[in-house]
């Protein structure tokens, strides 16, 4: 079957079923025609119209009428038919592909992009720097400091319960310093003092003062120090 006849069959099918089916159903019907009813012959066309009528519940009477109409359209070249539906199908397909591509690209871009930057307050950043420096220079690991902090909390009844709870939570995930984030400047100053008491226990008061001097000097190099001078934690 040449291309011209195949095109006319598609146009005829669209023309016949246009009044009975929606656009989506029409496109599906054209798809069925292209995939399953490519052979030439009257029986093939009748079978096609019957299949479509059965699939979309058009009834036998409508089916007979449509068969007659289909043959007339195919036979009479004078009847003006709509644009080849294949073009519409192709356009739809390309449109869907473009949409999929765009979605995939958007998802890919979403995955590749850095997560939204959380605004960490300057005092928290400075405190975390101080803490990291002290952990590196003085304590063997986070757990050593946590144990001492808990001991200090037990001895000092004035320590705020939120700070005690935060230190307990830190124990569960010692590598993370996110427990610092909810605290205000004055609360972090309180924790800093607790750490000083721990330092005095570990290294003695003279070294504790020296280490604090160095830690503050290191923290002052951070860009956040312009917003929040590290000495305010002391």
């Amino acid at each position: 079957m040449n291309d011209d006849i195949r095109q006319r069959r598609r146009q005829a099918a669209w023309f016949c079923f246009e009044q009975h089916l929606t656009e989506e159903q029409l496109l599906e019907a054209i798809g069925i025609l292209e995939q399953q009813f490519q052979l030439d012959g009257v029986g093939v066309l009748i079978s096609y119209v019957s299949t479509i009528c059965a699939q979309f519940n058009l009834g036998k009477e409508v089916g007979k009428a449509l068969c007659v109409k289909f043959f007339e359209v195919m036979a009479n070249r004078e009847i003006k038919l709509p644009t080849d539906p294949l073009l519409l199908i192709e356009e739809k397909r390309f449109s869907a592909i473009r949409q999929q591509e765009q979605q995939a690209a958007a998802e890919k871009a979403k995955e590749a992009a850095p997560p939204p930057v959380e605004e960490i307050p300057a005092h928290s950043m400075i405190f975390m720097s101080l803490l990291k420096y002290l952990l590196k220079e003085v304590f063997t690991d986070e757990m050593e400091l946590i144990k001492l902090l808990k001991l200090c909390c037990e001895q000092d009844k004035k320590i705020h319960k939120d700070i005690k709870a935060a230190i307990d939570n830190w124990q569960l995930n010692p590598q993370s310093f996110r427990w610092v984030l909810p605290f205000s400047e004055s609360q972090l100053a309180e924790v800093t003092h607790l750490i000083y008491v721990c330092l005095c226990e570990v290294s003695g008061p003279v070294e504790a003062d020296q280490i604090f001097h160095k830690a503050i000097a290191v923290c002052e190099l951070r860009p956040e120090a312009k917003k929040f001078p590290p000495s305010r934690l002391l």
Binding site: D156, V197, L199, S231, L233
Partner: protein, 406 residues
């Protein structure tokens, strides 16, 4: 003429003993960390001011008023009409302040300033004068027993030391001085040059402290008193050095200085009686006993910043007993027992009273500075001033923020 000379000499001694306050202030301030230097200075300065007024108002009457042996009941708010009495009063005021100022060094770096001033008032207005009256008031019961303390070896120095001990037991050590595992951490003073200068000044003042205690220029040998005082100080330093050598320790300047002060304390009880040889022996052993005492104090985990208990307490005990052990004539066990009685009574009177007073202050006002103030330093948290602003400024950010208040 002789009376006028005695008057002038006494007035000079008032100045010399006053100058001892500067010596104590420098020695104690230098022995403390830089962040507490102003606070120590202020304590020395103000216990002179508070002590001066309190002793004038109450202390002098309790010490020198009419007495049945225990405490004076007259001469409160005294208004001396002649120079001799006024100078005597001024001289005694200086002594009272000296006793109180011994405490300031011991409790340095962790005591609230306001609480210290109250305690200083109690020492100069109650503890020191009542005990002093037992010995230096002619009607005092220890004086009647024959107890002899020429210039305040027990009356001033031991009483100051026992008050210090009481304060230290209530206060506890400085943050981190002793670890939980029992490790002893040295906390060196920020300026040993000041310590040495303070000791020199103390030494100069001691010539007035002992020299002013003579009853007259003719009956007592002023020259011998001054000579013995000097020799005692010299021998004390050598004694401390000998002790350090025997312990195979380095020759510490701070300990050597404390040894010389212990020697000066030791010589104070009998400076008018000792021969120069005895003075050297007494001073030398005073230096050694200081070394032993300082080690014992540390073993008990008592944090005495300037070793006041070892210097003034142990030195005071030794010097008072030495009066009987290095007699002018024959040795007398009776004299030794009387001297020992005075030593024991000094402790039994001053330590419990000071302890109770300090406990009361601690309960109602709080004696101990917070650990946060210890961290920031009492200079700023108590006085809002810095002894060394050039290198302390970076550490007072938060103090600036909240003006040192918690």
């Amino acid at each position: 003429m002789e009376q006028q000379l005695a008057l002038i000499w006494s007035a000079m001694c008032v100045c010399l003993v006053f100058f001892m306050q500067a010596g104590f202030a420098l020695l104690e301030s230098g022995s403390a960390r830089a962040k507490n230097s102003i606070n120590v200075m202020m304590k020395n300065y103000m216990d002179m001011c508070v002590g001066g007024i309190v002793f004038w108002a109450f202390g002098y009457g309790l010490m020198y008023g009419d007495t049945l042996g225990w405490f004076g009941t007259s001469q409160f708010l005294p208004n001396p009409v002649n120079s001799k009495d006024a100078i005597h009063l001024a001289y005694q005021i200086m002594f009272a302040a000296t006793s109180a100022t011994i405490v300031s060094g011991a409790v340095a770096e962790r005591m609230k300033f306001s609480s210290y001033l109250i305690f200083s008032g109690i020492v100069t207005g109650l503890i020191y004068p009542i005990f002093g009256g037992w010995i230096w008031n002619s009607g005092g019961w220890l004086a009647k027993l024959g107890f002899f303390d020429f210039a305040g070896c027990t009356v001033v120095h031991s009483v100051g030391a026992w008050c210090s001990l009481a304060a230290l037991l209530v206060l506890g050590p400085r943050l981190g001085r002793f670890s939980l595992t029992g490790e002893v951490r040295e906390i060196p003073g920020h300026n040993l040059t000041l310590v040495a200068l303070g000791a020199f000044i103390l030494w100069v003042g001691w010539f007035g402290f002992n020299g002013g205690s003579i009853s007259s220029l003719t009956t007592d040998n002023l020259g011998l008193v001054i000579l013995n005082t000097h020799l005692g100080g010299c021998a004390g330093a050598l004694g401390a050095m000998a002790f350090m050598a025997s312990q195979k320790k380095p020759t510490l300047m701070s300990a050597t200085i404390n040894g010389s002060i212990a020697g000066l304390v030791s010589i104070t009880a009998g400076a008018v009686h000792f021969s120069p040889t005895s003075a050297i022996m007494v001073g030398f052993l005073g230096g050694i006993f200081y070394g032993v005492g300082a080690q014992v104090i540390i073993k008990f985990k008592i944090d005495d910043v300037v070793d006041a208990i070892a210097v003034h307490g142990v030195g005071g005990i030794w010097g008072t007993l030495a009066v009987a052990l290095f007699p002018q004539g024959e040795f007398s066990l009776h004299t030794l027992l009387i001297q020992a009685t005075g030593v024991v009574m000094a402790f039994l009177w001053s330590f419990p009273l000071a302890y109770i007073s300090f406990k009361a202050i601690d309960m109602y006002l709080g004696a101990r500075a917070s650990t946060l103030h210890e961290q920031r330093g009492l200079d700023y948290t108590e006085h809002y001033e810095l002894g060394y602003p050039e290198f302390q400024k970076s550490l007072i950010g938060s103090a600036e923020k909240d003006k040192g208040h918690e």
